[in-house]
Symmetry: C2
Subunit: 291 residues, 2 copies
């Protein structure tokens, strides 16, 4: 079995889909790439940047003899997109996605894809990205040394999982498997909550003073890096928040409680406990990022 894809259809040719295309091209794992998307301007840029070979407007033609469909649009559009392409999907076309939440994607697949297609549906999530969006931000090495999580359905065939896994590995990523439920819980903590906290930090500043710009003149690189992820796509993060809202509501509660514990130490002027708290935080981060 060759792992070279003869025809790859990318729906949503942005940072994620575009980088997938560029990475596979570089290692010769794909022959022909068809792009579908909302923005004609972005698709033309994708052609110019040689990310895709062809722009498709007719899904029937695009999906004809496609080996693989890669869903790269914001996660909330997954259901609608699956509904639209379902009539034209061939039984042997592998379908995979890169959505930041997985339970909602699987629910959409269960609703819109017949069993024959679900055998070839491999939900995935590359833990990579940037606060930039659009195909112009795409990079061939975006997935290099990054993690990709696959959350296959019970009915997904082992072969389909293997092919998707091999492609991600060809992009330089390492691949893990877990349940969609576990994925969404982990990502709520490591990604979704921090995004919410960063967005909220900027809004806190905005509400602290009638002239937030004056206050920000005196902000340094600490705040800049802390809020880098607040530069992310509001649309994308609205969708992620809605898709994973129950877990996130709990996460916000837990984080607010954790802040209350620290505030109590301030009330009590407990310098020793404050230092210990900061040391534990720093130690965990140090272990995590240890080279």
């Amino acid at each position: 079995m060759t792992t070279v894809i003869n025809k790859l259809v990318i729906i949503g040719v942005g940072l994620i889909g575009g980088s997938f295309a560029l990475a596979l091209r570089r290692v010769g794992k794909v022959k022909h790439i068809v792009g579908i998307g909302r923005s004609t301007q972005n698709l033309h840029a994708a052609i110019e940047l040689q990310v895709i070979d062809e722009i498709a407007t007719d899904p029937a033609r695009a999906l004809h003899q496609a080996d693989m469909v890669f869903l790269g649009m914001p996660v909330a559009q997954t259901a609608h997109t699956l509904e639209q392409i379902a009539p034209y999907l061939q039984a042997n076309t592998i379908i995979t996605d890169a959505g930041s939440t997985k339970q909602d994607v699987i629910a959409a697949a269960r609703h819109h894809l017949p069993m024959a297609n679900r055998h070839h549906f491999v939900p995935g999530h590359p833990i990579a990205g940037a606060e930039l969006s659009g195909v112009k931000a795409a990079q061939a090495d975006l997935y290099h040394n990054k993690h990709v999580i696959l959350t296959p359905l019970a009915e997904t065939s082992i072969d389909a999982v293997k092919r998707v896994e091999q492609l991600w590995q060809a992009c330089g990523a390492s691949v893990s498997h877990m349940s969609a439920d576990e994925h969404d819980r982990i990502l709520a903590i490591t990604s979704h909550l921090p995004h919410i906290l960063a967005f909220t930090m900027m809004n806190h500043i905005r509400h602290s003073t009638p002239e937030p710009e004056q206050l920000l003149r005196f902000a340094g690189s600490g705040l800049r890096d802390f809020t880098r992820i607040a530069g992310s796509s509001p649309e994308m993060w609205r969708d992620i928040c809605l898709a994973n809202r129950e877990t996130l509501i709990k996460q916000i509660d837990a984080y607010r409680d954790e802040l209350l514990v620290l505030q109590k130490l301030l009330h009590e002027k407990d310098g020793e406990a404050l230092q210990q708290t900061f040391m534990s935080a720093r130690a965990l981060r140090g272990d995590w990022l240890k080279p």
Copy 2:
């Protein structure tokens, strides 16, 4: 009046004091630098790196004919340090500091310095730094294009302020003046609160699971940058928290309320308001960092 310092005494030769020394040396604004500090090993490194010319153990000798004393140790040690050096300070020696909080530094100066020395006391705070500490992290360009805030006392002489200002400008920084009270309020929002949030994020992860390392395997660059400041010195941040605790307690309340507003939008599944919230946050950040 020349702005060249014949003898500069740096108490606490770490990232901040060491970078001040290196920057002034590079532009030829200082002739002789004496270092005082807790760690002999660090002071020897400072000599090796040519950050200082001489290690002093006797404050009387160190302060003899000093043009300027720069306080670079953690802010909580300011009072004790001022108490120790006060007997040896000459009336014309300028004293300045780099503490991250200013009201406590001024209270310490009022308590330990006689009026003659307070005439030459210029509290300052360079908005620059890194999560690293110690003289080995010092860089000559740390203050380049950074802000320095000076919060002179009512009794500080204009000449002393001007000399300190000129030195910071020689380091490449731009200098602003404001009251210590305003400084502490602004920095609580732009710096102290984000540090607390970053430390708290790591502790939240630590308390979320018995194996936080497993969870962090799937964390990406978003969390890494968001928590960069959680790599900062626990001792320094304990001191800053205690020095600015009343303002910080209020800031934590306000931030927790802001989180509650966002959580309410999740409860209500209000996608439009969520997106609007994220857009406002992103817009403010974009305006701030606009080149």
